[in-house]
Amino acid sequence: MKSYFDITGDGGSDVLGQVARQRARIKENLAGVHHRVAIASGKGGVGKSTLTMQIALALRAGGSRVTILDADLNGPSQARLGGLSHAPLVPGPDGLSVPASRAGIGILSMGTMIPESKALEFDSVAEGDSHVWRSTREFAALADLLATVAWGNLDFLLIDLPPGAERTFQYAEFFGESTAFVLVTLPSALARGVVSRSVSALRRAPNKILGYIENMSGYLCPGCGQVKPLFPTADGIDLGLTHLGSVPFDPQLAALCDAGEPMPADSPSEALAATRSIASRLIQELEKAS
């Protein structure tokens, strides 16, 4: 009797062919993107989204064409960070156009499609048990976006990932090995421990890990003018990655992020200087990797 592998095709729907054709469309559609970099952590609340936007702004200030794909479909924040919560989706001649922030950053985020008071829901013919199919549906939605958005010619496509150590690995598989990774942590042992798990998970993927960023590495006290620690330092947990830089917590930056405004280019903010330095380091690491 024939086995599964003795039979060519599936007799009708050609499901594997459909998947292969979509992968080919995605590859073709992203052909104009020079660098794909995913900003990940594993740990939630470490500032991945904020840093993604700040790095995008720093790269843009250097003359690069940058778009952010907010891959966190359930907790999108890039639309607010870019001040694009009310931008309509526009069908262009070559696919879905990417809305741009006032600073010239392209932003594709569910936040432009769903008000913050609403949760993302998918229609389903199955009653309940969404945990069985939900993740598959989300990746299919992302694949659909990758295949049909008019990404154009970009120097950088930054991908803002949702938290979850194992999920980070799933995204590495999904986006493919040409997507490099940057991990974000806090100085605390709690955060570094979770990020360390993500590193371990990512090591199973062929993707290049460019390094890590330590966010909220301190707080500039407006009273004494000194940078003081926000978290106890976890010197004992070595992530085994290149340290791309550390970004201190800046209340002014936090307020601007809430308002969807970029930090003024002439601001003396240490956070701004740090993200610019990280953007430069990122370019160096990408050049080394290529």
Binding site: S13, V90, P93, G95, S97, I114, F122, D123, D144
Partner: protein
Amino acid sequence: MKFLCVPCDSPMKMSQASPPERGSISVVYECPECFHTMAMLTNPMETQLVQSLGVKIGPASADEKAAGAKGNGCPFSGMAEEMSDDRGDAAEFAWTPAAEKRLGNIPSFVRAVARTGIEKYARENGFSQVDEQVLDQAKDYFGM
């Protein structure tokens, strides 16, 4: 998934797929050697798993009917309807065939929200219908 006619040792071919009824799809396979037929009947969970992959099963018409059986596959359809209701204007906005064609080229799960947003933009900017000029203008205003 593949089906084998055991007596003929021959792979069976899909001959028809029926739209889902209460979440169940019926797909009929036929052996090209002995013409024996069999039906695969999915339960709603299996149907949903396949739909979640974003692939089409059987003839396109069946798939389209599948999407229409419960919602249209768009996660924002309800939201788009709400946004539509919010405007307090139930009049339908006319789209030219060329504009509709562009809308058809974007992911199906964002079409409803895109349509609503563009119509809002067109209304606020004094257009009476949505054509390629409106879309290009919106793209220039909001896009890269």
